[in-house]
């Protein structure tokens, strides 16, 4: 198959072939079953750990394989997503949970928490959202009150990916109510800490293999050394995490859309109506052409953003937001069109595209809805052009 040259490193190409083979052999045969039962893909994550694939984003000094190139991780997410984003989100949420530690954590925290994540021995989760604080994440109400060498956490986090399954949670809580978003702090909370429990697993439209749960904190005592950075810096860690993690959501969109395109083209070549394969109809082949073009533009934008981040650029929130909304909208469009190409068969569970379409929707919602992404871009434009018009 002809592919665009994105100048990928040898390592990125190696990861692509490993993940592709893994996803075909280990995920594809079970994805429908995991979707139906909602069973968490624990065995799959464990095997990925054994294959050294859980630490692609963690620097070598903390047990991972990251040496400045984020593409292997992005491509790993993309390839898993091509087969199942219920599995790929369970995989990628480890990075989301670990990012605040990587970005704002102390050397001791990194040494303690990152190696078991890199080996896949432990899993992580990221807990920001609350029942009354979704898009408006600065409005969280979970509190952390300092008492001696501990913080006492109280409150409820909602819809936390890997909730209940993960061992290490980065939790955002208010340490100073008077300061709004500047009064938010981030903590590392380990599963099993007294006062920390889980709600039931949510029953969802898509990504049903992934675990989404409430986290409940009732006078939960967290050692003061588990504060990430200073008090009041939590919101900064939360937002900087999204800046680096959103290309991961984009990669999910690219992979998912590619998977749907693959199914649609293969089907269109073999399904015959009016005495010929349906792909022979221009009306249909143009649909496929648009789908393929969207997938490739989403991929190109996503990879370009990742490279820009890797280059050490300072200001890339705008670009992360762009690839997140664009690739997730592409995933929604392409999976919907794939169902259309398969017609009634596409609507049936015997074919994978109905699941892909159900799964796609989440990409437009989590890690900031696509409206919020456009907000971020709009704000950035406003700021950038203010400087231009003054000049």
């Amino acid at each position: 198959m002809a592919i665009l040259d994105y100048g990928l490193s040898e390592m990125a190409l190696e990861i692509r072939s490993m993940m592709r083979e893994f996803a075909e052999a280990r995920v594809k045969p079970v994805r429908a079953e995991l979707d139906e039962s909602g069973q968490f893909p624990a065995d799959i994550l464990r095997e990925l750990g054994k294959m050294d694939l859980m630490g692609l984003y963690i620097p070598v000094e903390y047990g991972g394989t990251f040496e400045g190139d984020s593409m292997p991780n992005i491509i790993a997410v993309e390839e898993l997503s091509r087969v199942c984003i219920g599995v790929s989100v369970s995989y990628a949420a480890n990075g989301l949970g670990a990012d605040p530690i990587l970005i704002g954590g102390s050397e001791e925290q990194k040494k303690k928490y990152l190696p078991p994540l890199a080996s896949g021995e432990k899993w992580a989760a990221y807990a920001l959202t609350e029942p009354n604080a979704g898009s408006d994440a600065g409005a969280i109400r979970t509190t952390a009150v300092k008492q001696g060498d501990k913080y006492i956490l109280n409150g409820t986090k909602q819809w936390i990916t890997n909730g209940g399954e993960a061992d290490i949670y980065t939790v955002f809580a208010v340490t100073d109510k008077t300061r709004g978003a500047r009064g938010v702090s981030a903590f590392i909370v380990e599963k099993g800490t007294p006062g920390f429990s889980f709600g039931k697993k949510e029953d969802k439209l898509g990504i049903r293999a992934s675990a989404t749960r409430e986290l409940i904190f009732e006078n939960c005592e967290v050692p003061a050394e588990n504060l990430i950075g200073r008090e009041g810096s939590g919101f900064i860690w939360a937002m900087r995490t999204f800046d680096v993690s959103r290309p991961g959501i984009a990669a999910q969109g690219v992979g998912l859309a590619q998977g749907a395109l693959d199914e649609a083209v293969m089907y269109a070549k073999v399904r015959e109506q009016f005495g010929r394969p349906i792909i022979a109809n221009q009306g249909l082949s143009w649909m496929l052409a648009d789908m393929a073009t969207k997938v490739e533009t989403a991929r190109a934008l996503t990879y370009a953003v990742v490279r820009t981040i890797d280059s050490g650029a300072k200001d890339y929130s705008k670009f992360s937001a762009m690839c997140k909304w664009y690739a997730s909208d592409v995933a929604m469009q392409v999976t919907t069109d794939a169902v259309q190409v398969l017609g009634g068969y596409g609507y049936m569970k015997e074919y994978p595209v109905e699941k892909m379409m159900r799964d796609a929707k989440i990409l437009q919602i989590y890690e900031g809805t696509n409206q919020i992404q456009r907000d971020i871009i709009g704000l950035a434009l406003n700021k950038e052009y203010a400087a231009v018009s003054r000049a």
């Binding site: 190696e14 990861i15 490993m18 083979e21 893994f22 052999a25 280990r26 095997e47 054994k50 294959m51 050294d52 694939l53 394989t65």
Partner: protein, 263 residues
């Protein structure tokens, strides 16, 4: 513990056809893979290593120089050492000559292995002879069709499968086993393993280096002659009913059998 796993590079049989006129395997454009049963043998060794960390796994293959690919694959999965037995003098060896050569290679290894593992059979030749023959050359007890293995106090407890059940055997080490598919699901290579495998320099071991008697190796020393290979005649696919009432399906079956004058 030292475990030797013998592996063979074979054509991927899902892609192989038999030439309709020459009756030989058409290997053009067919990828080569590790013999699937050998993957199970290797996995058995790797799992044993997980519970006995002081284990060293040596993977041995005899074949042309390209066969080193299966050794790299094995290192990617976690094997420690490799031996590529490759020499023109060995070409054309049948199972008798091959098992002699492999046994000679194993004799040169130090320390002597506690376990020698094989796949039940190779999917190209399908003889299932090499494992037991090597064991015979080495005067080792051999258990075929193993699907379970525990090792403790110098003894192995082996589950041996039959069509209708299994038996549990105990044997003193050293011993040889041939392994069936049901034993495990072979792992995939790890990233670090693959990187180590890429760097590996593999020097072929020659017939002379293993002290093989030239009279016992290669085509001339091989008592077996392949006279011809034939595809089995294609079987008709039969008739299948499903999803209907059992009574209706039974009626159809009886009708069909009557029509064919079978009852």
């Amino acid at each position: 513990m030292h475990i030797v796993v013998c592996v063979k590079q074979v054509p991927n049989t899902t892609q192989v056809r038999i030439h309709p006129e020459t009756h030989t395997l058409v290997r053009d454009g067919v990828e080569s893979v590790m013999n699937p049963f050998d993957e199970n043998a290797l996995e058995m060794a790797l799992q044993l290593k997980e519970s006995h960390p002081d284990t060293v796994i040596t993977v041995l293959t005899m074949g042309p120089s390209q066969a080193e690919a299966v050794l790299r694959e094995a290192v990617g999965r976690g094997a420690d050492k490799v031996m590529l037995l490759s020499d023109k003098a060995l070409a054309g060896s049948d199972t008798w000559a091959t098992s002699y050569a492999l046994s000679q290679a194993i004799r040169t290894m130090s320390p002597r292995p506690d376990l020698v593992l094989f796949g039940k059979q190779a999917i190209d030749g399908d003889t299932a002879q090499v494992g037991p023959s090597v064991a015979t050359w080495l005067a080792l007890p051999c258990i075929t069709c193993a699907f379970g293995l525990e090792v403790a106090d110098g003894r192995a407890k082996v589950k041996r499968s039959f069509e209708d059940g299994y038996e549990i055997l105990e044997v003193a080490l050293p011993c040889a086993l041939t392994v069936v598919k049901e034993a495990n699901v072979p792992r995939m290579a790890s990233l670090r393993g693959k990187m180590a495998a890429k760097k590996l320099v593999i020097e072929p071991t020659t017939a002379e280096m293993i002290g093989a008697d030239p009279a016992n190796i290669g085509l001339l020393a091989s008592p077996t002659r392949v006279v011809s290979i034939l595809s089995p005649p294609a079987r008709s696919s039969g008739v299948k009913w499903q999803g209907e009432e059992p009574a209706d399906m039974a009626r159809k079956l009886v009708e069909e059998l009557r029509q064919r004058k079978l009852i």
